[in-house]
Subunit: 266 residues, 4 copies
């Protein structure tokens, strides 16, 4: 059986990749694009199906659902519209697969309750990269046993914030499995301020910014006489697509809304 | 309550470390050393308790058990005696913690059955390094999702065999979670023989041998646009001790014999 | 003074990058494109100058030289035409900067002699990446002191040949500074064929091929108690442009033809 | 011809290694040990020559020189006595090889002048590790071309100061070949203080401290589309010995005092 997928946010950077990935998946079919700014034109030139045809574009989600009855809504839009989309989707039994971060905690709770009531599967994944999610999961798991941890995250020099969101998320996951404790020598002295990095409950986070770099992260866990290093390198946006496809397949067989790709990696 | 530990194999390289580690653990006490070659002398100079005293040495396990009633037997001897030790230990309700590899499969089965019958906890761990065991576990787990895997193991140039035992064990664990498949380009060509490494069900294993190196392993898992690397560095034998202590604590609360440290990492 | 540059091979993958890079360099001007297949059309849409104008395209090098009098010919074409281009350029005092590999040794000698006679600067660089050239140079230099070397090169799984050309070039450079000698344990044993990699005068070369990877190389040099690692990561073709611009500037002040970017790094 | 070596500081950690290394070098002979605290006893048990004999110990450098006429003084003592030793050695034509850091600049100048006058070779090397010196040299050299640099140095958690001396020395070498400039995004923002590390003329230095680690340093140099990484791992003190032996051989053929092992790597 082919999974019928509607995509919102198809013109964005993630969207362009997603249309290609879903469009080429043997067990999926893009039945519609939701695009409020649609002006009668098609999408980008390369966003066509295997027959070279464009996809039907809708400016109303309601009409889209009625006419195309999608199984799944893949939503790669922005926080301001995604709640409405998800709410409407779940109401109509359309399973949401959402890559947009930025939903409020109470919104997520509301949607989770609704999905449970209607027995509709769904997933909200701030990060669709399977490798990145595995890296975070492993780092946090290992921190139970090797409790001295430092994170080095490395990005191109066009990134403004330090540390990265992924580093902050990793650190947060670690704080759930280990007690806060000061790391390093008790009389440690920074000869130059900042040398020892950002301090989060004793863990140290270091942010490297260099031209040429893409997105990389290393979790270093030290123990007596040994070091465990978990590193993830993101080379391009296509790395998110296997996680998107896995999510689409997963929600077809689930009856709940989950938050985080890690929960569907068994 | 203090755990009473008897140690066999205390003069070996692992044993020397273990006497120090167990001797300094606040919740443990070394009640006896089992040493058939005992000639009336003490162990190495540094193998003493916190009061600078040597440990009582026995040349008979039977007598040792009767006089000292240990809770745990930490056995770091050789394959030829370990089965007898374990068998006798379990019979007397002494929990075995064993670092010796080389037991036969049927011996392990026999001991497992006995331990179950007597409700005695125990563990046989070919590798007591928590970091190394986590690295293998993570690599195998990740291979379910990122199925193209290469292993690079790096050791000092005094190591004879290639690949290393840990690399072989890792590869074996991976074969259980992924289908064999040829990796690399289908028309791949080695301009010089061996460039692509050892082939194990399509996975490639590369062995680096250099002076200066100790014991290191990297698992590289590639996916569309991303790379996950899991690396473990062993800097010295002390890295095995946290796993030894964890095992001693674990068997006190278990009623089964398990094989592999990975099974007591929850 | 602005350097007047003519570019041959502008439609190729390197060419597209080069038109952008030279077009944006403050001290350079693209005065002409040499393109035999020119059909009256401009180049790719994005290949325009800062005023949005296309560049003048010539189908004859002779006419180009007469009308535009370039200082430098940047040649990114194929081996079959590059000799003729270089010969003609040097004859007319136009300095060649050439990225095409594949020239015969006797052709290079002939061009070198001609450039010397006419006192015209020029460079042939099989690899324009400054980082890659530095990495090779450093690895070879270090091998004088740390004579046990292994090379790990890592590329995407669409690469057919193993080892890579860069690895072979690195190894060749090393053989000039150290004596061949067997590395590893003298009784070394491969439990699985190929584990120890390709053997080049005792050095070992390992080729990793994984989806997701781009182009990476590590030189590992081991000594008593230490390891020196020199790693280069190529993330995209833009990494060649600084070397192209450096070469264009260099040939303006040289009176010889050199082979290899390493010779203009002082 | 065998080089006759006298060693001062033989009981220290470096000294113990040095006695072994020089004692086993085929072209060297330890003719005397200078040890003011000598109380008639020999050195450590293992500090003997190949015949199992201890080395002659002197408590006066004057007498030592007269009786043993060493070619070289290998001095591994402390800053308070090393100047006197060097001065006296050079006066008597004994070539000093000195691993002690902490000499004042004017002392070094004075000794350099004296060595020149007497035409006596000598070397003061704050770091005898060839690999570490090569790593610093390469990082500084590369920074001429790839001017965005970050240093990550990693040490065991018993180290008090951050950054390490080697990192500071590396950074100092880099400042001589590149202009200071702010690295990273111009609007860069640290969400947690210290994330971007220590700032030295725009370069960023990050200090990792973990149990298990020994002494490691990575220089990362980023350029358009590429990354060059130069890493050095020190696994134990024996890594200093090849540099010590190279220095002893070097001073036999030199007539000047040099500062830094990098100056005798050709």
């Amino acid at each position: 059986m082919t999974i019928k997928v509607a995509i919102a946010g198809a013109r964005g950077r993630m969207g362009v990749e997603a249309v290609k990935a879903v469009g080429h998946a043997a067990d999926m079919e893009i039945v519609a694009i939701l695009d409020y700014k649609h002006d009668g034109l098609f999408l980008h030139e390369e966003q066509v199906n295997d027959h070279g045809e464009g996809y039907p574009i809708y400016t109303s989600f309601d009409v889209l659902i009625q006419e195309k009855a999608p199984d799944v809504l893949l939503d790669l839009t922005t926080p301001d519209v995604v709640f409405t989309h998800m709410n409407e989707a779940i109401q109509h039994g359309v399973r949401p697969v959402v890559g947009t971060s930025g939903l409020q905690m109470d919104e997520i709770e509301q949607l989770t309750a609704l999905a449970k009531e209607r027995e509709v599967g769904g997933i909200i994944a701030p990060n669709f990269s399977i490798g990145a999610v595995l890296a975070m999961k492993f780092t946090a798991y290992a921190a139970k046993y090797l409790q001295d941890v430092e994170i080095i995250e490395l990005h191109h020099n066009q990134k403004v914030d330090a540390p990265s969101g992924t580093a902050m998320k990793t650190v947060e996951m670690i704080t759930k499995v280990r007690e806060a404790h000061k790391q390093g020598h008790e009389d440690e002295k920074e000869l130059i301020e900042g040398a020892r990095g950002a301090d989060v409950e004793g863990m140290r986070v270091h942010s490297v910014r260099l031209p040429g770099l893409l997105a990389h992260q290393e979790g270093l866990l030290g123990g007596e006489g040994e070091l465990l290093t978990i590193r993830h390198d993101s080379f391009n946006r296509s790395s998110f697509m296997p996680g998107v496809l896995m999510s689409i397949r997963h929600v077809m067989n689930d009856k709940e809304l989950v938050y985080g790709l890690e929960h569907i990696l068994d």
